[in-house]
Subunit: 375 residues, 2 copies
């Protein structure tokens, strides 16, 4: 086992050539990651790693998007566990993605292949292999991260003890594909997209990405929560009820969505947004495994399923479906919140309880005693 | 009282100058309409008219979008009632809208004012005035039509006996404004939009309108219904799971949404779409009336409230809110359907029962005996 990057810092691991599920090749692929807490490993290869899987537009900064949940004595207790979070292949937080240099020159751009959730897991396994780490204690993820956690349990059951699958489904739904395709269309329709090859042109499809984010954000937030915050209020100093319609005169909710859009375009790559959204559209635990419920039934890794009662994007019935059909259900939790899908990022008090409960249950499975130490 | 257009045919009535709620002027405004059944009027001015209010992209062709519900002996019984449906001001089915010629030359285009639901009702009252019709028996509408029916009851209680308010809310919600603004943005961002003045250029913002419709359609249909129909199926002959993402390789749901989009762009004007969507954003029964619930409480017209259990766009709690706060609730009905918002257009068996029940209840209020006849 090789040494990990210093706690909290960004490390990058070369995983060599990645062959995707659909048969494309990514040579010299790199996976970026952060970790917190000391790694305890045994000769058997099992470790005290809790692998956290990020959602679509977040990255390996777990301490930023789950503040208060990771640290000494906290739910993700860095006194006991080594918490690792990798940036997904296709992402833009250090791992190889469309904005990365291509080995033959220029940027990947439109040459970057379509990837699936399974490809994300394959890359993560290659990352662990490169570090000489055989197994992890648990995999936890929400939204796209939940899809990754679920595929982990299906693909590499021998390499994890338990999985927490949060606010996701067994496969993409038609509604999700529809609303996600609308976001991809908005980006691909931006004249600055240049067929995916805008890198190095000095242009970026910011408008398209902003449109995508506005739409997406409405699927991330609960309808009642948004209404209680914004209702039909006009943005301060603007009048959306004037005698002639004027796009500069906005309702408060429009201004809020514009703000969310600007926040994203300043920090996230449009190519990665398309690639990872496409990966969500490809999510299907049943593909090539005899269908959805047969695939779920064969999963023997203990799984903990979490949903949000007001989730528009991944309605709670999808998590009920998971819990009814998974082969080994450790438990289930329902986040009660007006926030909608994003509740797993926002309801810290409930998430604290849920993660603690998951880890308690997961640790009923044998956790290796601290043996040789790596840090 | 003047004569109405022949049954089923399209008539147009000049209503003169319309002054909008926000203070704009539309001179020489025209309202197109259809009617079915004989008009019975009394000297008092009351009539047997049932005024049906269309939704955003439908028009006065009630027989097309409520087939089986209108005709002799049917729920909207043309043996007993004179069913009238006007095209909304701002629309593109014969009434004055952005695509209409402007009195000073050219087309209205960007000169067409922002209108509210109240302006739609004001125009309809002017339409009735022009025909010498004082009162109607009932007003029925779903979605945008429901908003119009609600404003009718608030604005002109002396001119109707009852209202059926279907699949709508007391005001726009922040979520609705957000998703509707995204649709408007898509159209206004189309280079063929030309700031709203594309009429006569030979260009039309078809792509923008198509994008708007794809998004809108996902708010009109139930998530479970779409999933049961399309799931993660690929469109026949296409492969959305290929090694490189290709917009031409679609999931079946994408193809379906493209089809819905093409159907709309071939029959509906983008300018009217923007104007009427903006009117939905302005919907607020409480504006200038002491707030939402005070406004609802003062409505003494008997109202029948209908909602759909799976409506994403106008969730059922919004109709529950109406029924709790309206001053005079005749009854309430819940359409049970996987279809979502569009259930009021799709679930004919339930709608048949609901409209019959509404009319029975509404007719408990005095319906004038047939007196002087107009046709």
């Amino acid at each position: 086992m090789s040494r990990l990057v210093a706690p909290g810092e960004l490390g990058v691991v070369n995983i060599g050539t990645l062959r995707t599920e659909a048969g494309a090749i990514i040579p010299d692929a790199r996976i970026a990651y952060r970790r917190w807490g000391k790694l305890h490993g045994l000769d058997s290869g099992r470790t005290n790693i809790i692998l956290v899987e990020h959602s679509l537009t977040s990255g390996p900064d777990v301490d930023e998007w789950w503040p208060g949940l990771i640290g000494p004595g906290l739910a993700l207790d860095t006194n006991k566990y080594c918490v690792v979070c990798t940036n997904s292949i296709g992402g833009c937080h250090g791992s190889t993605g469309p904005s990365s240099p291509h080995p033959e020159g220029g940027y990947w751009g439109s040459r970057f292949p379509g990837i699936s959730i399974r490809d994300q897991v394959t890359a993560e396994i290659a990352f662990l292999d490169a570090l000489g780490i055989e197994g992890v204690h648990a995999v936890i993820g929400g939204s796209m991260g939940g899809a990754r956690a679920l595929e982990w349990a299906a693909m590499y059951p021998e390499r994890l003890s338990a999985a927490a699958i949060i606010a996701v489904s067994a496969r993409a739904s038609a509604w999700q594909i529809g609303i996600q395709a609308a976001q991809i269309d908005a980006i691909e329709g931006d004249p600055h997209w240049h067929g995916g090859n805008y890198y190095g042109t000095g242009q970026q499809p910011r408008e398209g990405l902003a449109t995508a984010r506005r739409i997406a954000h409405l699927t991330y937030r609960g309808e009642l929560e948004l209404d209680e915050r914004f209702g039909v209020e006009a943005q301060e100093g603007e009048n959306p009820l004037g005698p002639v319609r004027d796009p500069q005169q906005r309702f408060a909710i429009e201004s809020y969505l514009d703000y969310q859009a600007r926040k994203l375009t300043s920090r996230f790559d449009a190519g990665s947004y398309v690639t990872l959204t496409d990966a969500l559209n490809r999510h299907n635990i049943g593909r090539g495994r005899g269908g959805l419920n047969r695939a779920l039934a064969t999963i023997q890794v203990p799984c903990f399923v979490v949903g949000v009662d007001t989730d528009i994007l991944y309605p709670y019935h999808q998590q009920e479906h998971l819990s009814r059909n998974l082969g080994n259900v450790l438990g289930m939790a329902r986040i009660s919140s007006p926030v909608g899908h994003d509740a797993f990022l926002a309801e810290f008090r409930q998430m604290n309880r849920i993660i603690r409960r998951f880890i308690t249950l997961a640790s009923a499975a044998t956790l290796p005693e601290p043996g040789s130490h790596f840090s």
